[in-house]
């Protein structure tokens, strides 16, 4: 497994090359460097996976945990040190495949999407940096290494969201994304500090006796770490950065804000799962409730958005929440007895990465064709973009959970896991899944069906109402279509992967079997969602839609404004922190502390000016002062001595 080092080294190398010499390279060369290195990484990741899973289970019936590289990077205390290394276990190998696949697709896709864009080389440099950091995060051998790469993915995300750095919205969004996640990382860091101190190690396999003796601190530390994960994975109320992050180039949204970085929080919880389940099952259940609420919230908001990327962003939040719920409902690490959620969560992570990546790439192709994010500028595109249409439909069916697409299988496992935790949870999550089907097909119909915006504009142009001839929507170039077709194929087939054979909470093989009741009910709900969307949106705005709109205008408005969460955050940051704390402190510094120092200075000066009159050069006054002095001294001598 020595070749795994190249999985990290190659993206880093291509980042360094592109960052240092990129601006001098022609676009094609820069893109090729990035893509080739990523292609190699993908091959290596698949080779690693084949070798790892191919080698089979060890004598204990588990896949071994391999650590081909590990060295002490920074010794801190006698027991604590920061190590850097590569750890291979089922979930990290699975993540390697997911990340390298999606990243490679995005690299190829960007050739078409970013063609001719200024800063093309910089774009590929940042993509390489991101891929390096994300791969480093998943293979981390200890929590501190994870934190280090966690910060690095954060900054790559910052740089990529702000790629169009002259665009105001992009600047604000990148700043917001970084600061919100940093705020969450503060809790993560404090959690790590607690964990490190009481466990005596940063590794994922601490001495269990030490943890037992630490008592309540360990659940607290794990809870704090989860807050960090919630920041990256956009759980309510830390989700506010993700919709804004859509200001970045669309392939970036596909890679970072749909498939890989945003699931880091889920990965973190999965990584710490053995400790969670043993020491903090109550924290896991809190995670489940946070996830369930987030799933519903994001799904409702997604129904009211008009920007297609925003819809996808909220759908991402909702789907990640599904993964969180699945982890949270675990009550043991045995998949046969309450531990199914772990496997379901990882399965959904895998399938979601593929179909959500595909949805974003499709959205990118559409935006590329109509030059707008707004659904009003779309409609009837299925004639103009057949391939995009089909792949997008596949992804929609997958996310809606329709047999035999991949989302059906993973979602079914999640719902089964919820059912074994509490039937109410299953009902609730099935409802959210139905809502998911509804808003995804609403999006699908608004984009590809209904009245064509282009045709209506063209008609207006022919009548002479508008001056400019509208731009004909066109199918995306091959560089963009190929990745979409590949991802669509994976989305069709991934459901048949016997996932439980490879990844379960306790490492033992588990044969996935469909729970018929859950499968039927969830499929029914999904079909109801799709049917509703079909009735409401297939032919454009019709009566049903309009009455709905009028009846619940306020609610739709509120959902469109994401229930005013952003306004709340803006209030806290702008009004409370900036105006309420920072300004007064700066004022206090200038007008109290500094003024006191100035006062000392001016008091000295005033005093000096006062006593300066003694030195008047006037002999008579000197004599008088002298006589006074003599008299006082004489009196003192007489009376005191």
């Amino acid at each position: 497994m020595e070749h795994t080092i190249f999985i990290l080294a190659l993206p880093l190398l291509s980042f360094l090359i592109l960052a240092l010499a990129g601006m001098k390279l022609p676009h094609k060369v820069a893109g090729t460097i990035g893509t080739l290195s990523l292609a190699t990484v993908t091959v290596l990741a698949y080779v690693t996976a084949a070798q790892y899973f191919g080698a089979g289970r060890g004598a204990d019936g588990l896949f071994p945990t391999l650590v081909p590289y590990n060295f002490t990077w920074l010794p801190l205390t006698e027991s604590l040190q920061i190590e850097m290394g590569i750890m291979l276990d089922p979930i990290s190998v699975m993540m390697l495949m997911v990340i390298s696949t999606v990243s490679l697709m995005v690299h190829i896709y960007s050739f078409g999407y970013m063609k001719g864009e200024k800063g093309f080389q910089r774009y590929y440099a940042f993509l390489s940096l991101f891929t390096f950091s994300m791969l480093g995060l998943v293979v981390a051998t200890n929590i501190f290494q994870m934190y280090i790469f966690w910060e690095l993915v954060g900054v790559s995300s910052y740089l990529l969201i702000g790629f169009y750095y002259t665009k105001k919205a992009a600047i604000a969004a990148s700043k917001k994304a970084f600061i919100v996640t940093r705020f969450a990382d503060l809790f993560f860091l404090v959690g790590i500090l607690f964990y490190g101190y009481y466990a005596g190690t940063f590794s994922f396999e601490p001495d269990v006796r030490l943890l037992f003796s630490a008592g309540i601190v360990i659940p607290v530390a794990l809870g704090l770490m989860f807050i960090g994960g919630a920041g990256k994975s956009a759980m309510f109320p830390l989700h506010i950065w993700l919709p804004d992050a859509m200001e970045g180039p669309t392939p970036v949204s596909a890679l970072i804000h749909a498939a890989t970085m945003v699931v880091a929080g889920v990965y973190l919880v999965a990584r710490m799962f053995p400790i969670f389940i043993e020491f903090a099952p109550q924290v896991l259940h809190i995670i489940a409730y946070v996830g369930a609420f987030t799933a519903l919230y994001a799904a409702v908001v997604a129904c009211a958005q008009t920007d297609i990327k925003r819809v996808l962003a909220f759908s991402t939040i909702s789907q990640i929440a599904f993964m969180m719920v699945a982890l949270g409902v675990c009550t043991s690490d045995d998949p046969h007895a309450g531990g199914l959620g772990y496997m379901a969560s990882m399965f959904h992570l895998f399938t979601h990465a593929m179909f959500k990546g595909l949805l974003f790439l499709g959205a990118g192709a559409i935006i590329h064709a109509v030059h707008s994010n707004e659904r009003d500028c779309m409609g009837g595109l299925r004639k103009y973009m057949p391939v995009t249409h089909i792949t997008f439909l596949i992804a929609c069916l997958a996310i809606a959970g329709i047999f035999p697409f991949s989302g059906f299988f993973s979602k079914d496992e999640i719902l089964t896991a919820c059912y074994s935790y509490a039937p109410m949870m299953e009902v609730f999550m099935s409802g959210v899944a139905g809502l998911t089907a509804f808003y995804m097909f609403r999006l699908y119909f608004l984009i590809f069906w209904g009245k064509s915006y282009y045709e209506s504009q063209l008609a207006l142009f022919e009548k002479g109402r508008i001056e400019k001839k509208p731009h004909t929507p066109h199918e995306a170039p091959a560089a963009m279509l190929i990745p979409m077709v590949i991802l669509a194929a994976i989305s069709c087939l991934a459901g048949f992967i016997p996932f439980g054979e490879f990844i379960t909470a306790n490492g033992e093989a588990y044969e996935i079997h469909l729970n018929t009741g859950v499968a039927i009910s969830s499929t029914l709900l999904a079909i109801i969602g799709i049917a509703t969307a079909t009735i409401m949106y297939m032919k454009g705005q019709n009566k049903v839609t309009l009455t709905m709109k009028v009846r619940s205008k306020k609610f739709i408005q509120a959902a469109y404004h994401r229930f005013y969460m952003d306004e709340l955050w803006l209030f806290v940051t702008k009004k409370v922190i900036f105006r309420g704390i920072s300004r007064p402190i700066a004022w206090f510094d200038k007008h109290a502390i500094d003024a006191f120092m100035d006062l000392l200075g001016s008091a000295t000066q005033t005093f000096a000016r006062q006593i300066r009159t003694f030195q008047s050069g006037n002999i008579q006054s000197y004599c008088i002062w002298f006589l006074h002095g003599v008299m006082i001294l004489a009196l003192i001598l007489i009376f005191l001595v």
Binding site: E151, R182, L189, D589, D594
Partner: protein, 494 residues
């Protein structure tokens, strides 16, 4: 001859040569040759020190030597270095070297500027190599006085006011110091001024320690921007010319932390243990307060000055947590802050030199106009907010992990409060980056400005390499300083 003497001799020769130089060309060559020599010497000293330690030289101070120069007070010119001072000397040499290039085009009176500049560096080097309290104090003063002239003559804005304020406040601090030094001298029986000997005697009565620990800590703390004695720093930095800001924030403020560690805590360990809590509170305030006030500043230099208050506060904070790891972290933070702030001030100076404004509301869209400087600024910013791969991260993490070794509720609480600074730092850094570098340039006069010249590029690249080097391979530095920290640590925790 003792190699450490060269750190005094080279600046002295440079002073003479500068005095004799007749034109700009000669002045520049003297500076380049001299500062490169100092840098090479510092690098040699570092490698040699590591080699000697590796070979088993376990004396507390290596290269120790002593010459008496005033017998009645037992004042000696005693020198010697441990790992901490070696690290500080290396830092100073790097900053002096890069500062030379940062003031390459300084006008007018270049020669006079460099004269004071070299005198300042002489004081700094002297301070770090001395092991005699009085000699140390003398060099300390030598470093402070040129600051007045450098700011007062070559500064900008309200330079006379700032220079005066800075000098008076620091002189106030040194008055405390002098008192403290005499207190230690007489407290330990008035037989020696040598730090090692005083530490070995360990006979200063506890009640004397209680009086003089706060005095000395405050004296050095003023230079380390301890709340509420930090207000000289924003004004001073804002008025100082670029290389003076670099040297000041990069090195001079480290004299404060170094002194607190070497004199206050090392020689008065009992009081340090008992009274640390007072100063922990003050430094915690420094850390958060400095960061919060940086958010609402509008002048680039003020922002970084307040950021320095926060970061230097963290240095003193970590020292006072008094675990071995946190003290190592404090030294790392000194190095890291020195390099990062020098980089920041260098970049701000370069931007100011072109745009003639430091107001963030008047600057915008610089990324398109001066890409090199802007990228440098972003890197400096990311380093400052503690991105892994840069020195700040290593230092902060060492400090926080070290501080967590103190398990009681008080230390835990203040540590967590101090941790919040990593978020606040991100806020003010990204605010500035977003405002001045991104977006479209609104000021048409700025459109025609040029990007960095070769000397500026050289300065920036050197410093970035140092910051990244310390961030990627921190182990050799932490090994270097660990011995020195260990010695002091054993005295603090007998």
């Amino acid at each position: 001859m003792n190699i450490l003497n060269l750190f005094i001799v080279i600046p002295l020769i440079m002073l003479l040569a500068l005095w004799a130089s007749r034109n700009l060309r000669q002045t520049r060559s003297v500076m380049v040759v001299g500062s490169s020599l100092l840098l090479l010497l510092a690098i040699y000293l570092t490698t040699d020190f590591i080699a000697q330690r590796g070979a088993g030289a376990d004396a507390e101070f290596l290269y120790a030597a002593s010459w008496q120069w005033y017998a009645p007070m037992n004042i000696c010119y005693s020198i010697g270095v441990d790992g901490i001072s070696v690290a500080m000397i290396l830092l100073s040499a790097i900053i002096v070297f890069t500062g030379t290039f940062a003031s390459w085009r300084l006008q007018p009176m270049t020669k006079e500027f460099f004269l004071w500049y070299v005198l300042l560096s002489l004081g700094v080097f002297g301070f770090f190599i001395s092991t005699d309290l009085f000699t140390m104090f003398m060099f300390y003063e030598t470093a402070l006085i040129p600051m007045y002239l450098l700011i007062g003559v070559w500064g900008s804005g309200r330079k006379e006011y700032s220079a005066m304020k800075l000098t008076l406040m620091l002189m106030g601090g040194s008055a405390f110091l002098l008192m403290g030094i005499l207190g230690i001298y007489f407290g330990s029986g008035a037989t020696t001024m040598n730090i090692m000997e005083i530490a070995a005697l360990a006979n200063i009565p506890v009640n004397v320690q209680y009086i003089f620990f706060p005095i000395i800590f405050l004296g050095f703390g003023v230079l380390g921007a301890l709340f509420p004695f930090h207000t000289w720093s924003p004004d001073g930095h804002a008025s100082a010319p670029t290389s003076v800001s670099m040297l000041h924030a990069g090195v001079l403020m480290k004299l404060g932390g170094y002194g607190c560690f070497r004199v206050a805590m090392y020689l008065l360990p009992q009081a340090a243990n008992d009274l640390a809590w007072i100063f922990i509170i003050l430094t915690t305030i420094s850390v958060v307060y400095g960061a919060l006030s940086a958010i609402s500043q509008t002048d680039l230099k003020y922002i970084n000055a307040y950021s320095s208050v926060s970061h230097c506060g963290l240095v003193l904070f970590a020292l006072l947590m008094m675990t071995r790891t946190s003290c190592t972290g404090a030294i790392l933070q000194m190095l890291s802050h020195g390099l990062m702030t020098a980089l920041f001030f260098a970049l701000i100076g370069m931007i100011y030199g072109r745009t003639h404004t430091r107001d963030i509301h008047e600057l915008s869209g610089l990324m398109k106009i001066m890409p090199f400087l802007s990228v440098g600024y972003i890197i400096a910013g990311l380093a400052n907010l503690g991105l892994p791969g840069f020195s700040g991260f290593v230092a902060e993490m060492t400090i926080f992990v070290g501080s967590f070794e103190q398990p009681d509720i008080f230390h835990r609480t203040v540590t967590i409060i101090a941790c919040t600074s990593i978020v606040i730092t991100a806020v003010y850094i990204l605010r500035v980056v977003g405002k001045i570098l991104y977006g479209e340039c609104r000021n048409e006069h700025h459109l025609a400005l040029s990007d960095a010249t070769w000397d500026e590029r050289f300065t920036v690249i050197c410093l970035i390499i140092c910051v990244a080097g310390l961030g990627i391979a921190p182990m050799w530095v932490s090994n270097l300083i660990d011995g020195g920290v260990g010695n002091i640590f054993t005295i603090l925790h007998p």
